[in-house]
């Protein structure tokens, strides 16, 4: 067992930012907008670093797929305690079309290349809310998956996991190697300390990878038809009982039309 953990970190628009749709309705405004690490990815990094501090694993490798700016996200992971970073360079049109299926293929390939024992991801990204990458990565690798984890403990070569599901909490035990996706209550991510930030900027611990198009990116593109902001909520009117419920459900539905056209 290599004792190596791969943590996927995604660069997303910061959660505090007010999202605005582009005038041509092709997406949301990202230029000049503050970006940061996806909050669930932060939780995943924290969990990985904690495992390393408990000496249950040996190395934490942060991975991000995206353009040049993704390196900032990797640096944040390094400043939190990751040992090194891998930046998979995806830019331009490829980046616009980058979705969970492509990312999971990349992660699967990297996991084999790095001989990873564990892949830790956030349960979903706050920009697309897909909640697919972890599950797809596990399927591609044929590894067990522990999604929506709110507690993780390693026991020998098995993992005890508590999952947050609709009905409550589910306790499972899975083999390693495995994919785990982090839910909100798994931990509270630490701040990067100033000295760590300085180090992450000075040292070049991030490798650059160019994805091999044949294996990674050309499949499973989901074309985006239109992005529209939701209608402004209308004020509710005062009716009693069932009529009130009915009125509220009718108004304020977001409109987003996506044409899904999977070509595998």
């Amino acid at each position: 067992m290599s004792g190596r953990v791969l943590v996927g970190v995604k660069r997303v628009i910061d959660y505090a930012v007010k999202i605005r749709v582009k005038p041509d309705n092709t997406g949301v405004v990202t230029d000049g907008v503050k970006h940061s690490m996806n909050p669930f990815c932060e939780i995943a990094v924290e969990e990985a670093v904690k495992l390393k501090e408990k000496k249950l694993i040996k190395e934490v490798v942060a991975v991000s797929c995206g353009p040049q700016q993704s390196q900032e996200t990797i640096r944040t992971a390094l400043a939190m305690g990751a040992d090194r970073g891998i930046h998979v360079d995806v830019s331009g049109k490829d980046y616009e079309n980058l979705g969970p299926l492509q990312v999971s293929k990349i992660l699967a390939a990297l996991a084999k290349q790095e001989d990873a024992q564990l892949i830790l991801l956030g349960k979903q990204a706050i920009d697309d809310d897909c909640n697919q990458t972890g599950q797809m990565t596990a399927a591609l690798l044929d590894w067990p998956q522990g999604t929506f984890a709110s507690e993780v403990s390693l026991e020998g070569d098995k993992i005890n996991l508590v999952r947050e599901i609709d009905g409550g909490l589910e306790h499972i035990k899975i083999n390693t190697p495995a994919v785990i996706t982090a839910d909100l209550r798994l931990n509270t991510p630490r701040y990067a300390t100033l000295p760590n930030i300085m180090d992450s900027l000075m040292n070049n611990e991030t490798e650059l990878h160019k994805p091999n198009h044949r294996t990674s990116l050309c499949v499973g593109l989901i074309p985006l038809f239109e992005t529209v902001a939701p209608e402004d909520m209308q004020g509710g009117t005062d009716r009693s009982g069932a009529m009130l419920r009915h009125t509220v459900l009718q108004s304020g539905k977001p409109k987003r039309i996506i044409l899904s056209c999977l070509c595998i």
């Binding site: 000049g32 907008v33 509270t188 990067a192 900027l201």
Partner: protein, 436 residues
């Protein structure tokens, strides 16, 4: 093995609060944009480096998540915010000036990083945005250690700066007396040499961190001849707070920055070993004054942070509160008020940044430092008062955050050189240049 982290114990952050407010700081909007290609060098640059941006982001996040939620409670109780200070210390948010070689042992939480004054000003502004009381408690550390950093011997630095990096200890700058504040040359605390020691008698007042400090920088008169010039009559000492004879007074209840610990300290036959003299007998005045060129920019930065907070609070209120059929921001009287607040905040920021940059370039920055401190102190008061005005009746009430800002702002026109003293300095510097 790629383990480049200096310290292995990075403690958990505190509560993850989802209340982070959207920062509307316009001056840093460009700083937070995704990486821009560097403009061709025009000499003067307003661009922050990646490292500076990240420091600023960390401090901002810390202020939003750790300081802002608890600041009102600490203001009401006046309790020293040690838990927050400890967390900030762990992240390296203060004591940043301590050069790296004076860090003590391997597994410490934070090492001095020899940060530039500019970098520490960026951090200070962000922390002050959260609460200036807490930020002053941390800044007092910088003031107290600055004489040691600029004038201490290797041994003194190792001993007294080193211990600040090992544990979250505080230090304090002990110069002001009940009878002498602006008139530093008028201090009466006496230090008499007896053998290998100095025996100190006197009273100090308004010492920030007075009750919490592990050691003090003390200025005392060693030459009793009244005709002796100030530049030779005083000596700077490092005094351990637990030295017998050091009597710490009660915590003073102040108008603002109430969680910061301010006290009077009486020195009664306190014996200080001669090893604790900075440079030598008679060099104290220069050291004490020299510290200010480094600490005035951060104080100006703190005032700017407070002003920015007042501006942000007033702006979001003005966009919500409605009168006469529209949000009050659409009334010109209010929007003009906000515009003037914006002008003042942006200019104060540029002023302290220039002052900090000057001293980092290795130049004497007294002119710029005084301008920055005077201006920032004045506008902080004006902007905080205007913010209360924008809030109207609500602003006067303690349930809203702006009355605290107005109370906290006042001290910025008083400590680290009063507004009047700054004007004296600026006039002197300006006329000195004009006469050349």
């Amino acid at each position: 093995m790629h383990t480049y982290i200096f310290h292995t114990q990075v403690l958990r952050a505190g509560v993850w609060c989802g209340i982070r407010l959207q920062s509307s700081s316009t001056a840093t909007a460009s700083a937070t944009a995704s990486s821009s290609s560097p403009a061709p060098s025009l000499g003067f640059s307003f661009e922050l480096t990646d490292q500076q941006k990240e420091f600023q982001q960390l401090a901002r996040r810390f202020a939003q998540e750790e300081i802002i939620p608890v600041a009102p409670a600490y203001d009401k109780s006046g309790e020293y915010p040690f838990p927050i200070i400890k967390k900030a210390w762990e992240l390296g948010l203060f004591n940043g000036h301590i050069p790296q070689e004076y860090v003590q042992s391997q597994s410490y939480h934070t090492c001095g990083m020899g940060l530039s004054i500019f970098d520490s000003c960026l951090i200070t502004e962000e922390l002050a945005y959260g609460c200036t009381g807490m930020q002053t408690a941390m800044e007092a550390n910088s003031l107290g250690q600055m004489p040691v950093i600029i004038a201490g011997s290797d041994a003194q630095k190792k001993k007294y700066l080193g211990r600040l990096t090992e544990e979250p200890l505080m230090c304090a700058y002990c110069v002001t007396e009940p009878g002498a504040g602006s008139d530093v040359a008028g201090i009466k605390t006496r230090a008499v040499k007896m053998g290998d020691e100095y025996v100190v008698n006197g009273q100090k007042m308004w010492i920030t961190n007075g009750g919490k400090a592990n050691w003090y920088f003390l200025l005392a008169r060693t030459n009793s001849d009244p005709k002796c010039p100030a530049s030779k009559a005083f000596t700077g000492f490092i005094v351990d707070a637990d030295t017998p004879g050091v009597q710490i007074g009660r915590k003073e209840m102040n108008m603002g920055q109430r969680c910061s610990d301010t006290r009077g300290i009486t020195f009664e036959d306190v014996r200080i070993p001669k090893e604790n003299v900075l440079i030598g007998e008679g060099s104290g005045f220069k050291i004490a004054m020299g510290a200010f060129d480094n600490t005035r920019p951060p104080v100006a930065a703190g005032a700017t942070g407070l002003a920015q907070r007042a501006l942000d609070e007033a702006t979001s209120y003005a966009l919500e509160r409605k009168t006469f059929g529209k949000v009050i921001a659409e009334h010109q009287a209010v929007s003009f008020l906000l515009a003037e607040m914006v002008m003042k905040v942006e200019l104060a920021r540029m002023a302290y940044q220039r002052a900090a940059w000057e001293v980092d370039q290795g130049r004497r920055n007294t002119y710029y430092a005084s301008i920055a401190k005077a201006f920032a102190g004045d506008i902080a008061n004006q902007v905080a008062s205007d913010a209360v005005q924008v809030f109207g009746g609500n602003g006067f009430n303690s349930e809203y955050p702006v009355e605290k800002l107005m109370r906290d702002a006042k001290i910025y026109q008083i400590y680290e050189g009063t507004a009047q003293i700054q004007r004296l300095i600026i006039a002197r510097e300006h006329l000195g240049r004009a006469k050349k």
